[in-house]
Symmetry: C2
Subunit: 133 residues, 2 copies
């Protein structure tokens, strides 16, 4: 699933997200890439879809926006659940990978005979820096 090489569009979208300091919406990405020939939302959405599959971009459901993965290691499609802590002041997003939560959710699901395909955990609030300031 992890590709040898990204296509031009995928690379451009990823680069845009990587350089951003906060999550970006698809349309914001589109605007940033107009100079590189992007004209339509689908160009962005298609790239985002692949990058998300590859596990190097995450979608934040509560924002309808996307971030580049900051986990140093292990790309490739989602081995585990990732929780996001999203600062509403500065936009900073930190990724949290926690086996305890994962196990607990798995337990709760099992108890209900629920088969989980995909899990979203997002905390909205204020990071340490912004709280201090």
């Amino acid at each position: 699933m992890e590709p040898r090489k990204l296509t031009r569009n995928q690379a451009l979208v990823l680069e845009t997200l990587t350089h951003a300091e906060a999550p970006l919406s698809a349309y914001t990405i589109l605007d940033k890439l107009r100079d590189h020939g992007f004209r339509a939302p689908l160009q962005v959405y298609r790239a985002l879809e692949k990058l998300t599959e590859f596990g190097i971009v995450h979608r934040l459901e509560s924002l309808n926006a996307f971030v580049a993965c900051t986990h140093p290691h292990d790309h490739g499609p989602e081995k585990g659940v990732i929780a996001f802590a999203i600062c509403e002041d500065c936009g900073q997003v930190s990724e949290i990978s926690d086996p305890e939560i994962e196990d607990r959710l798995a337990h709760l699901a099992l108890k209900r005979h629920f088969t989980t395909e995909k899990t979203t955990i997002e905390m909205r609030g204020h990071c340490g820096n912004c709280t201090a300031a």
Copy 2:
């Protein structure tokens, strides 16, 4: 925060959600209420905003849709985190309130000096009934 009485619009929207067997989008609610005089999305969104504040309706971020709260007790604005298990086959949503997850998330946030305002936990998958069938 919990109101003595709902307005007409709020009551209609809540009733629609209560009778639904799956989460409804705002526009779906609008369509169902045209016969009752609803004409514009804002009528629905305004009601939903209040009902959500009251804690008797929940928004599902990963669906852009809304459900009536099924917790028997304790309405009123969110004392705790609620996790949702959403069946992609039948649309059934079950609400899970689990102190362990809550504590663990609180711990993880604290460790990062992150102040949490609102937490979203949504599991997408298949309920027992649908898996059996």
